[in-house]
């Protein structure tokens, strides 16, 4: 009978990504309700050493597929190995990250296993001995409670939402064969163009300072960069700012941009259109700085300042600098 909670850990360049720790801690919490085991699948090349870190966050057993064929990530290769390890070990629940890679992989694995998958969940629990996955639908205008009747019940978890709590377990390594038939792999990564700005991606940032049409132009964003610099955050943008060419597509937050959930989201000169709210509503603390008291962003903000952002933001930067000094 299917038993236990399994996660698929994600690593890049030999380091575990934060979502992997969030997955491990969440799996631990679910498994502890029934006294079950937490296992992890870890794929890559030269990555066996990372298993111990997963152990620290509550993983009992780590299936390590260490092979040059696993680096860089290719959907077909990873999906084949993950599906095989899952079939061999028959977990009741399979969790992955709703990161770019996790979304790509989880859908393909769900198809291979002919099972149900709840994408981008913001909460997971056990109800009647089964996984109940809670996820925003219609851009967060409502939520769905998803139940899967096939095994394993799959869910992908929204990054930055679930706490990564330490809870040391064995993290014992079980090696798995990660060789793939090269002829079956049709895709090839020709080039990795790294963002050299050193900025944390919006989906993983703890603090986001976003600007909209109210920034008046690309130069306006420099005051947001300064605030973000002090708060160790990343600068985001509304679609209006991206479409005007002031920021890049990768900086866009919202329904046709990125979905983010930082600890702190500061919206400057953003009106709060429904499509923008879709991308940032799950942030833990929302601040709005807008000169129009009627702007819809204020309906979602925990803290609001009605004033000219060009006066407020530099002051806020100075205040924060002092506090953090």
């Amino acid at each position: 009978m299917a038993k236990g909670v399994m996660i698929v850990a994600e690593q890049r360049d030999g380091a575990l990504r934060k979502i992997s720790l969030e997955l491990a801690a969440t799996a631990r919490k679910l498994a502890d309700q029934s006294g079950d085991e937490v296992s992890a699948i870890l794929l890559g090349s030269g990555i066996e050493g990372l298993a111990a870190q997963l152990g620290k966050y509550g993983v009992d057993k780590v299936f390590v597929g260490d092979s040059p064929a696993m680096e860089p990530y290719i959907t077909e290769a990873h999906a084949a190995i993950v599906a095989k390890v899952v079939k061999d070990n028959d977990p009741a629940i399979l969790l992955m990250g709703a990161s770019v890679q996790g979304k790509d992989l989880s859908s393909r694995v769900a198809a291979k296993l002919a099972t149900g998958l709840a994408t981008d969940c913001t909460d997971v629990k056990i109800a009647d001995g089964k996984l109940l996955a809670i996820r925003p639908m219609y851009a967060g205008k409502c939520f769905g409670e998803i139940v899967t009747n096939s095994n394993p019940a799959m869910a992908s978890l929204r990054p930055n939402v679930f706490p990564a709590v330490e809870n040391a377990k064995a993290g014992a390594v079980v090696k798995v064969d990660a060789a793939v038939d090269a002829a079956s792999i049709k895709s090839k990564v020709l080039e990795v163009q790294k963002d050299t700005s050193g900025k944390v991606d919006l989906t993983e940032a703890n603090v986001i300072v976003s600007g909209g049409r109210g920034m008046k132009g690309p130069e306006g964003f420099s005051i947001l960069e300064e605030l973000a610099g002090v708060l160790k955050g990343t600068v985001g943008a509304s679609r209006a700012a991206v479409d005007a060419g002031w920021k890049l597509q990768k900086d866009q937050v919202g329904q046709t941009g990125k979905v983010v959930s930082p600890n702190l989201y500061i919206a400057c000169g953003i009106s709060g259109a429904i499509q923008h709210l879709a991308g940032m509503s799950s942030s833990k603390c929302i601040v709005a700085i807008n000169k129009d008291a009627e702007a819809p962003i204020f309906t979602r903000a925990d803290y609001g300042v009605v004033d000219d952002l060009f006066k407020v933001v530099p002051e806020l930067t100075a205040v924060c600098k002092k506090m953090l000094a």
């Binding site: 959907t75 859908s107 998958l117 709840a118 597509q249 000219d308």
Partner: protein, 256 residues
């Protein structure tokens, strides 16, 4: 070149979504229906591929009778023909069922490249492209912002967190589109007139011969959690307000 574009009809992004009192779904009465915005990028890319390389574009859509309007929109943009999978048996379909249904149709059509949106903005599952690719045993390239066709393969740009990947894949393959790929065109008036005469093949579940039982079920639909009313920081002086905001963020919200 034989190009397939999968389109889904979804509520307009401005639509008010009201959960039914019994939690069994949403009230559909007042909703204005449109083509999923990501599918507009897919259709546009399909048309550009055809314009450059010749061939034809087939639209495939699964949905109730009202989805025909969205299919006509895609035809008015310039697609050549369409298949409409329409059957109440799909009312509770999940991404697995939808992916298999689309695959069952696409299998019967010549196909070099299949374009989907990266996700449908109603259910936001983002699964159908991959489900379809698996069902057809084809490679998938998800979340693509640039696509170059080079004879028997495609090269795409796929942004990931903190980087962009340049990936090459042989044809046929499934590509899912996201914003940045192109600027979708509007249907022209002559386009709309022509679309009325373009062939749409309507198929029911029996014609596809696939299981329609969903793997994942929306057991309940619930309204979003209520957010406590926020604090508006009052005063005349922006300097004072900024200082108060900083203090609250540090002491009350513990966010700094």
């Amino acid at each position: 070149m034989n190009i397939i574009a999968c389109v889904k009809q979804v509520p307009d992004t401005e639509a008010q979504i009201k959960v039914k009192a019994d939690g069994s779904g949403i009230e559909e009465g007042q909703i204005k229906w449109v083509m999923n915005p990501y599918d507009e990028y897919g259709v546009e890319e399909a048309l550009r591929l055809k314009e450059k390389n010749g061939g034809d574009v087939t639209i495939v859509s699964l949905g109730p009778a009202r989805a025909m309007e969205t299919i006509r929109t895609a035809l008015a943009m310039g697609a050549d023909k369409a298949v409409h999978i329409c059957d109440p048996a799909f009312d509770n379909a999940d991404a697995f069922v939808v992916g298999n249904a689309l695959a069952a149709v696409i299998k019967t059509l010549p196909h070099d490249i299949i374009l989907c949106g990266q996700r449908a903005i109603d259910d936001d599952a983002g699964q159908v492209g991959a489900m379809l690719a698996e069902a057809l045993n084809l490679p998938q390239l998800t979340l693509v912002t640039k696509l170059d066709f080079a004879g028997s393969s495609v090269k795409v740009i796929r942004p990931i967190e903190g980087a962009q990947l340049l990936i090459e894949t042989s044809l046929p393959c499934v590509v899912t589109a996201q914003k940045g790929l192109n600027e979708p065109r509007y249907a022209s008036l002559p386009g709309i007139m022509k679309a009325k005469k373009k062939p749409v093949d309507v198929k029911n579940a029996a014609a596809l011969g696939i299981a329609t039982e969903a793997k994942a079920k929306v057991a309940k639909t619930i309204p979003p959690p209520a957010r406590a009313a926020g604090k508006i920081i009052c005063g005349e002086d922006p300097v004072q307000k900024a200082a108060e905001l900083g203090r609250l963020l540090r002491e009350e919200a513990k966010a700094i």
